[in-house]
Amino acid sequence: MTDTNTQETPVLNTRSVVGLAVCLVIALSGIFLIPTFESRAGFGVTFWTMAALELLAMVGVAYFVLNLHEE
């Protein structure tokens, strides 16, 4: 427990952490809002909305992970 690890812990980029959390919410929304969408807008709209939300969340996760730390 002495000075064996002298390297600094890299600083997380707060925006990226928040971005990851938002992407998680978007991805979950894409799944759990299906019944709401389907009852109001029909299957076609639900299908494309779900696909768009999941794609958006995935692209967001990829982007924020690649920028997870401060430069």
Partner: protein, 261 residues
């Protein structure tokens, strides 16, 4: 003596709503949740910059998959598709929402291991998303011609992803350490074998030729999903290949990272 109805249905109707496949969906949910929390516990307190990126991705993959499985367990994201022949299929399209989110992120893990540029990552992710979306359109199409054409389109996209993994990414990984190469090769083999099973299962399952029923199909998809996500993450996160080149803390509190050596 009559045949066991549970064996015929390949499952058990846990919710009493006429869906014996809920047994497999429930087990899938539990296994994905266990995987998610295991990875969270393993990654708690990790300070290595690169390792944190792998953990962020690898925790989200079974996390979203568990949500998708829970949704399907409760009957969310399942629709009836009436074919031109008059037959009606139950299609769990929430499964595709899961795959649309998770499969590109599994590829991102491999791309980070191989350290390829962002254009290559974008190409890989884009083709993978195309593979899933075309598979979904195929599952929702009404005529056999349309269904198999979209399946073929999706399978060609998959073959492109596989080719890209085995050529560009593999040669990039070959420039890295022995540990990275070993982990990359193990994970690529895992992806190649497991992901090849998906289009085969699609074509023999209810969405294709209907050789196997919905219960068996759901069970098989559950086993493939858990192995391809939790199994993949387990191999990746136990490896020291995820650590940055200048840092070497243990990646987990309880696990012996050297076990992967």
């Amino acid at each position: 003596m009559g045949m066991d109805p549970i064996a015929l249905q390949a499952g058990f109707d846990l919710l009493g709503d006429g869906r014996p496949e809920t047994l497999w969906l429930g087990i899938g949910t539990l296994l994905m949740i266990i995987g998610t929390f295991y990875f969270i516990a393993q990654g708690w307190g990790v300070t290595d910059k690169e390792a944190r990126e792998y953990y962020a991705i690898t925790i989200l993959v079974p996390g979203i998959a568990s949500a998708a499985y829970l949704a399907m367990f409760f009957g969310i994201g399942v629709t009836e598709v009436e074919l031109a022949s008059g037959a009606v299929l139950d299609i769990y399209y929430a499964r595709y929402a899961d795959w649309l989110f998770t499969t590109p992120l599994l590829l991102l893990d491999l791309a980070l291991l191989a350290k390829v540029d962002r254009v290559s990552i974008g190409t890989l992710i884009g083709v993978d998303a195309l593979m899933i979306v075309t598979g979904l359109i195929g599952a929702l199409s009404k005529t056999p011609l349309a269904r198999y054409t979209w399946w073929l389109f999706s399978t060609i996209a998959f073959l492109f992803v596989l080719y890209y993994l085995l050529t560009s990414l593999r040669s990039a990984a070959a420039q890295r350490s022995e540990e990275v190469q070993s982990t990359f090769n193990t994970l690529t083999a895992l992806v190649a074998v497991l992901w090849t099973a998906y289009p085969i299962l699609w074509i023999v399952g209810t969405e294709g030729a209907g050789v196997v029923g919905l219960g068996v199909e759901t069970l098989a998809f559950m086993v493939l999903d858990v192995t391809a996500k939790v199994g993949f993450g387990f191999v990746l996160l136990r490896s020291r290949a995820i650590l940055g080149e200048t840092e070497a803390p243990e990646p987990s509190a309880g696990a012996d990272a050297s076990a992967a050596d």
